[in-house]
């Protein structure tokens, strides 16, 4: 900590002085001069809102009423197994635009500089509440939607369906949504198949209460990141030069000689559509206290097919609100990028046949592009009582690819007994061999 009474440090040459890149940058939106003291035109320019890099808000849906483009009805449902929306009144079918093409997200990753955020990935306002009240534009009644777990509601007076479409400050509205393709029956069958392969040592209560029909379709919040990265690693590698044995018949030992090298590697790469959990609770993958790693395992999704946000895609499903901002996810992103860098350089150190010990690593994230997205997951859960509130076991099915992963609670005594029995049997054979050979 610096002492405020000490005089300023030695005079610095102009290149590193105030206003140069060596200064700590000012807070965004702050100005050295109070804008109210400036003439009108300059003030307007200074105070005009910053452009959002990629604006994904749908202006036509702002009033909260999603109307069928053909008949104007609001009774709209996603058509199961497709990316289409269907009007329950006139059976008209249509879909939202794919964001990949609409906003050019698949291209130019190697040209990315700085942090580019889509409008749905902007920071969550600190005072934003989950509960939102809408004025129904059809009848004027006030309708409340709890955006923590739902994005649509029916007006209790005129039966219009209202959806949250405006990109509100609480982060509940993403840029894009990936509709469910796997139907519920299919998900139930996959979960049943998964558990059927794990019945022998499963907890008795779990088997008794197993009802995969209770599976719930949930839209979980993710940040989809494109990154342009330059990484470097350094360490020591060894190449074997000689292998020889010393000692007599019964006491033979193998020895090795090796050359030690200082190894440096650099790699520039781009990553397309890396998914990160943007809910802090889901992002915590501590297998001692939760089974969120199960939901993490069913990644990735075919995020290239995501469509522009329309709350009607969520009708009939629940959703979870995002609570992490881009800045919160940055360390996690850098960690994953470093892992990718290390896997990329592995092929280039194959000639070090005694392995490489990486000692230093460095990453320079040149540019990133962030999109907030709702991804579809079928989730079956079982709560196992125990210490510290027990454990919530998930079985998750990827709503697009059908990839299934789960955590089945085990009957500990049964598993232990089996292991000990097999161990005893092996030990008996070992004793028999030792007894007969000596």
């Amino acid at each position: 900590m610096s002492d405020t009474r000490t005089p300023p440090p030695v005079p610095v040459p102009p290149v590193t002085g105030p206003g140069s890149p060596r200064d700590v940058p000012p807070a965004p939106g702050s100005s050295p001069i109070d804008p109210t003291t400036l003439p009108g035109p300059i003030r307007d320019e200074l105070q005009a809102p910053d452009p959002v890099a990629i604006d994904t808000a749908s202006a036509e849906l702002k009033d909260g009423v999603n109307r069928c483009p053909k008949c104007g009805s609001t009774d709209i449902r996603p058509k199961a197994g497709t990316d289409l929306l269907v009007c329950l009144y006139c059976r008209n079918e249509w879909n939202s635009a794919r964001v990949e093409e609409a906003f050019g997200l698949g291209v130019g990753i190697d040209q990315l500089h700085g942090t580019v955020m889509a409008s749905g990935a902007r920071d969550i306002a600190a005072d934003a509440a989950s509960l939102m009240t809408f004025k129904c534009s059809a009848c004027g009644a006030e309708v409340t939607i709890n955006t923590a777990n739902a994005m649509t509601a029916r007006c209790h007076w005129c039966r219009h369906v209202l959806g949250v479409n405006e990109q509100i400050a609480n982060g509940a509205v993403p840029d894009a949504v990936l509709p469910f393709h796997i139907k519920k029956d299919d998900a139930v069958a996959r979960i049943r198949q998964f558990v059927d392969k794990r019945r022998l040592f499963a907890l008795k209560e779990f088997k008794e209460q197993f009802t995969p029909e209770n599976v719930a379709g949930v839209y979980l919040p993710y940040m989809i990141v494109d990154a342009n990265v330059s990484a470097a690693v350094a360490g020591k590698g060894e190449i074997k030069t000689r292998e020889y044995t010393r000692g007599s018949d019964n006491d033979k030992k193998t020895y090795y000689d090796a050359d030690v090298y200082q190894v440096d590697r650099q790699v520039d790469f781009t990553v397309d559509d890396l998914p990160l959990e943007s809910s802090t609770e889901r992002g915590n993958l501590d297998t001692k206290v939760n089974t969120n790693n199960i939901i993490n395992t069913i990644l990735p999704f075919d995020t290239k097919n995501a469509v522009n946000w329309n709350a009607s895609y969520l009708s009939g499903f629940s959703s979870e609100k995002r609570n992490s901002n881009v800045a919160n996810l940055q360390p996690r992103l850098e960690d994953e990028l470093l892992s990718i860098a290390r896997s990329q350089v592995e092929d280039s150190v194959r000639r070090y046949d005694r392995g490489v010990r990486w000692e230093q690593e460095q990453i320079d994230v040149i540019g990133t592009r962030w999109m907030s997205m709702y991804l579809p997951v079928w989730l079956y859960s079982y709560h196992q009582p125990g210490r510290n509130g027990g454990m919530l076991h998930y079985i998750a099915v990827n709503g697009r690819t059908g990839e299934t992963m789960g955590s089945v609670p085990v009957q500990q005594w049964k598993l232990l007994m089996t292991a000990i029995t097999v161990g005893t049997f092996l030990e008996a054979i070992a004793l028999w061999i030792v007894g007969h050979s000596s």
Binding site: G237, L299, S343, A419, G423, E427
Partner: protein
């Protein structure tokens, strides 16, 4: 069979029991699974560049691998240097 080999064999019981326990536990609970983003993400890498210089020699070691080999443990973070 030598005495040495025979004594090694006695560890088969406890080792087998532990291995079976962990294998089954993991099969049920899948605690070792997570998203394999290193393989399952679309990555486009430019050719890897780098240098190497011989700095030392080791002679007469009984280890088959370098100490602290982490070439495959991508997710083990090492000393991070800032750019």
């Amino acid at each position: 069979m030598s005495d040495d080999g025979g004594l090694w064999l006695l560890a088969a019981g406890p080792a087998g029991a532990t291995a079976l326990y962990w294998a089954l536990y993991r099969y049920y609970r899948n605690t070792d699974k997570s998203h394999a983003f290193e393989r399952e993400t679309a990555i486009e890498a430019k050719p890897v560049t780098g240098s190497e210089t011989k700095v030392d020699e080791v002679t007469g070691t009984r280890e088959t691998r370098i100490k602290g080999d982490n070439v495959r443990n991508y997710r083990d973070r090492v000393n991070r240097v800032s750019s």
